[in-house]
């Protein structure tokens, strides 16, 4: 059993994941403390997304422990829906609900999971849409919004559950270049407000600005970790150097 430590939000211990015979995660261990912004980088197919998705069990881990606030969420006794309400997730392809307007997207989960009244949920939803700069788009359907706007609604939707931690799975890689900035701005704002965040991304500028720690995930292992300055300026591992050489 892990050390009870109020500052550790998520502790991952020896996480393995197989897809059929393919060994995607080969024993990942790390700790994420409250208020920390962790960037996950690494080559394609290295297991970044799988790592993120295992932490809220969108993928079932094959073995290992994921301890959230002192409780192993891989245990069958855990109500995973309760855990997920504390973990906000933002997807590469936004995954907004196309049959609902922006505000309906944002208030759906608070109303049906938190059993909030329509009025309260609408109020909170509007406040969040204002925060991401889309107060005037509340009644638009997702197909009437640009990619950047859709992703900001998706962030507001995740925030509406008042999660303790936010996961971002390549939030800007499906966006046109001119829309990346607006999404990163919102994310930087959240980081400044002290939100705990795990971000799979290759946005060097954002990582340098906002991240406290970078994990280099390659071939299912954390090959190197450290502050953005350390990783970008003097990477120690050959794998990290190769990877950075390719994306810079």
């Amino acid at each position: 059993m892990s050390q009870e430590n109020a500052d550790v939000m998520i502790e991952v211990i020896d996480l393995h994941k197989y897809f059929k015979e393919v060994h995607v995660l080969k024993g990942v261990s790390t700790q994420i403390t409250r208020g920390e912004v962790v960037a996950v980088m690494g080559p394609s197919g290295g297991g970044k997304s799988t790592f993120l998705r295992c932490m809220n069990r969108l993928e079932e881990p094959s073995s290992g422990q994921i301890i959230v606030e002192g409780i192993d969420i891989t245990s069958p006794y855990v109500d995973i829906n309760k855990v997920r309400t504390e973990i906000g997730m933002v997807f590469q392809l936004f995954n907004l609900f196309p049959h609902l307007t922006a505000i309906e997207n944002v208030k759906l989960a608070p109303m049906h999971v938190r059993k909030m009244s329509n009025k309260n949920a609408t109020e909170r939803g509007m406040a969040l849409l204002e925060k991401v700069g889309l107060g005037n788009k509340a009644n638009n359907y997702p197909d009437q919004l640009s990619g950047g706007q859709q992703q900001r609604v998706a962030i507001a939707r995740a925030l509406a559950m008042q999660p303790q931690i936010m996961f971002f799975d390549e939030p800007t890689s499906a966006l046109d270049p001119e829309m990346i900035g607006e999404v990163l701005e919102v994310m930087e704002m959240m980081a400044e407000e002290g939100m705990t965040m795990v971000v799979v991304s290759h946005e060097m500028g954002f990582i340098r600005e906002a991240a406290d720690r970078v994990l280099m995930l390659a071939d299912g292992l954390i090959v190197e970790e450290g502050s953005p300055q350390d990783i970008f300026n003097n990477p120690k591992q050959q794998r990290t150097q190769d990877f950075l050489g390719k994306i810079l």
């Binding site: 809220n56 969108l58 829906n81 309760k82 997920r84 309400t85 973990i87 906000g88 997730m89 997807f91 392809l93 995954n95 907004l96 609900f97 196309p98 049959h99 759906l108 989960a109 049906h112 999971v113 359907y141 997702p142 197909d143 998706a154 939707r157 995740a158 559950m161």
Partner: protein, 352 residues
Amino acid sequence: MCFPKVLPCLETPFVIDPIMSVQTAQPPPPSRFVRARPGWLYVIRRYEFIVLTLVLLVGYAAFLLPTADTPPALRLISIGGFILLVLAWCVNILADGEKPDWLKGLVALGFIATLGWLFYRYSGTKWDRLSKSFFNFQKMRGAWPELLKGLLVTLELSAVSAVFAIIIGLVVAVLRSLGNRTLNIFLIAYLDIFRSIPMIVLMVVIYYALPYVGISLKSVTAAIVALSVGYGAYAAEAFRSGIESVHYGQTEAARALGLTRFQTMRLVILPQAIRVVIPPLTGVLISMLKDTAVASVVAAPELLKRAREVYVGKANPTALVMAAMIYLVILFPLARFSNLLETRLKGRLRRR
């Protein structure tokens, strides 16, 4: 004389003199896009050719089509050959992108008219007897109320069965989306078995055979059970295709927000699936409405059964034509409506 500057690579070996320039003034070599000789398509699509063949076809119609003393074997060959030639002639014009639209419309009308004329001339129909037995509305006095009573039963049958078929289809499709292998074997067995049994067989079995296992159903109830179970299988397929058309990212996003599986299905998947489902589902329900006529074999007093009673009672089959007209009046707008719905919903599907 002033000559244009020649490409540098050609400059050295060639000496350009007036004689050479006369030779280059000859027509350029034929492009590879131009046919050496006009092809057969070019020939058969010329207006001269089309008019000539039309004259030949009219000649065929005048002299080669069978008369009263043509032997029967030759009659078939002669008429069949004529239809094939007319068809070829029409397709030749209809398939030509350069012919004007009004001409094509005329040709299409002409083809239908030709078929009608051939039928009128050679079918051997006795028109007076036909109208006396099938369109004898004087004899049908008092038949309409009888038929409308039948129509009421037909509508009741289809409404009740539609509700049950939709419920069965929805439940089966949702259960199937859970993805349990063992359960799916049973569900697929249900779908495949009931989609393979003809409705008339299903109804007869339910009505005449089930009493032997202790389940006696009235004829209307038996018809409802057969229609619901049989068309529930089709409805389930429609719902399944709708549910599968929703991107899996939707499920993930909903689950990541903490919604349960059931909430995800109810709030996220089904509202999106329904737009995909409605056109095929309308089609299924229209087929079901038509198949209510089968219930007459188990003596349910629906439209066709009533029509047959009138037929027997008045010894005239005009009642059947009247029933056909009622089915047409009910189903024709429905079929149009489902087409309209499909076009309308396709526009809305953009939202995804």
